[in-house]
Amino acid sequence: MDLFIQGFQQFFTLSSFIYINIGLILGLIFGAIPGLTVILCIVLFLPFTYTMGAIDSFMFLLGIYCAGGYGGSISAILINTPGTPHATATMADGYALTKKGESRKALNIALQASTFGGIFSAFTLLFFAPQVAKFAQKMGTPEYFLVCLFGLTVIAGVSGDSLIKGMISGAFGLFISTIGLDPMTGSTRYIFKNINLYSGFDLIICLIGLFALSEVLGKSQKSNQNTISSLDEVKSESGKISKMEYKRMALPSLMSAIIGVIIGIIPGTGASMASFVSYDRARQMSKHKEEFGKGSVEGIAAAETANNAVTGATLIPLLTMGIPGDGAVAIMLGALMINGLTPGPNLFAKHGVTMYAIMIGLIFVNIFMFLQGKALTKYFARVVSVPVSILTPIIVIFCFAGAFSVNASMFDVGVTLVFAVIAYLFKKLNFSTIPVLLGLVLGAITEENFRRSLILSDGSWKIFVQSPIAIAFLVVIALTIVIIGVNHIKDSKRSI
């Protein structure tokens, strides 16, 4: 209880509220514009967090992350183009309501459902994370290496069309993270006598290249102009949701919140899966199945509740064990590390107050998201029509300034360009860059725990099967590989 009160005191500052709201505005804008992603937004603004403390920077990033979830539904509802992949499930019913002249109502449902899902998820995080953390503290270095391996396996398996490709990408990311000075022996690795490479590649520099600049290269194949939305139409409607509609949405929303939380806890699953599973569940439960796809309020509520219910749940494995559930959260893990908070089982023991501050903050992030959404949605509707041609040079300027600002070095700007080309080639070769990101983020701790374990056992690999927790993790990893493999085989048979 002490930690809770201290955490609340640490969080409850003016700066936290300011950063939450700035993050929310940015997340709404980036989520709403098709072609811009939440990951891109987090990467672009990560350099700004350098000057903030751990809590402020996490509030800022959580603002972006949560609002991005709702922002994606704005364009899905108004122009039939999801701003984020997980808003795809919202699109059919949301746009159907827009065609009926009820876009404001659809936006209101999406906002309220997103807020409900987010707050439900935040409370789940607040109650469950400390319990998981207690369990995590029982883990030693071999177990923690297996946890990292589990996170990497899951992400590798679900981020692309093949588990092997994902493993290669993950190994590539881990390999890049080994470049520079070896922290355990002091030997240099693959630095080619370049002094700039002594400390390896800075995570942010790699991220800017992999996820922001590569998007710019990808603009060569996308249209320059988004469809213009009708702002006046949104303004003129009342958007009122009737009591009957609230009644119809109550149960699907609650079910979707639970589904979102369960899916969110599992690394590598993510908001898209949660929204589609929940949407399908709501359709099966509904007495008005025929309305789904044609403007069902239950459909919008289910999809939007679920994709925001994932937000807090993904933080459970992140804050307790250092396993990021998706790409955006993996970058946030990087933000934690920048602030000297090493992810892992001891994070709660060493920085309990900060962890509680972050978890309490997530509840407020969702409350402010609702308030901002209520007040500003009609204006954000205009955002979806911002031409990509204007945004692209702005993104590049941000990327270059951000990359330079990390070490005040032009070498880093060059490195971002190299990583942008790597990401572009990965896309062409059908390899996902998300496992690379996870490899980069988890590289140092994975290697450290792997080598420490081998040192403890004098080089014997038996150490990884000696404790019940380690065996349990190995079984989970094996099961995960089997399940992913079976699913890929099923998918490829279906596509034939």
């Binding site: 350099p47 700004f48 000057t51 093949s162 092997i164 490709k165 493993m167 290669i168 190994a171 590539f172 881990l174 390999f175 080994t178 070896d182 355990m184 022996t185 030997s187 240099t188 690795r189 693959y190 630095i191 080619f192 600049l213 710019v216 290269l217 603009k219 060569s220 194949q221 320059n224 031409p387 041609s389 204007i390 692209t392 040079p393 702005i394 590049v396 300027i397 941000f398 270059f400 300034a401 330079f404 600002s405 005040a408 032009m410 700007v413 360009l417 080309v421 080639l425 062409k428 070769l429 059908n430 390899f431 290697e447 792997f450 080598r451 081998l454 040192i455 056992s457 004098d458 080089g459």
Partner: protein, 174 residues
């Protein structure tokens, strides 16, 4: 000014014609074969240069090479597994995955990359804000934007970003 606009007009026509010529040109590409080969070559090269790049001083349970070796092995085994799958497909005469690459799209990506490189070269030479202004104007021209308002917005944005980094975040940009 008049002659400059005429040059731009001529350039526009030339670009349009080249674009029109390249529009339908496509190249067949086999990502399932090329991908594993790229990673296999990368891992093998990294293996070959390891003795010169990663020095090992002592014989311990683990060295600076232990983890990179494991990762390169994963990449090699994975790439070989993918290649074997493709070879089996060829032997069974099953169709391989073919992707048609549009030449125009790739050339456009290459032009964007060249513009980015040029921007990075110009940054330390003429300063962050002037190079950003040049880059953003060039980028809008690349997107064939004719609206003057867009150019004004982008110039204003470049200035604002430069000033935010310099004065708000205290970053000494070039």
């Amino acid at each position: 000014m008049h002659s400059f606009l005429q040059i731009l007009k001529k350039l526009d026509t030339k670009i349009d014609r080249t674009g029109e010529r390249l529009k339908d040109r496509k190249v067949n590409f086999y990502p399932t074969v090329v991908g594993p080969i790229v990673f296999l070559v990368f891992a093998l090269v990294a293996f070959l240069i390891m003795p010169s790049q990663v020095k090992v001083q002592q014989q311990a349970a683990t060295t600076a090479r232990t983890f990179p070796i494991l990762l390169l092995q994963i990449m090699i085994v994975g790439s070989v597994a993918l290649l074997v799958t493709e070879i089996v497909k060829i032997l069974r005469k099953t169709e391989l995955e073919v992707v048609q690459i549009e030449l125009l799209t790739e050339i456009k990506a290459l032009i964007i990359l060249l513009m980015l490189i040029l921007y990075a070269i110009l940054m330390p030479l003429i300063g962050f804000i002037p190079s950003s202004l040049l880059f953003s104007v060039a980028m809008l021209y690349f997107f064939r934007i004719k609206k003057v308002s867009y150019y004004l917005i982008i110039i204003f944005s470049a200035l604002v970003i430069g000033l935010i980094f310099r004065y708000l975040l205290g970053v000494r940009l070039p």
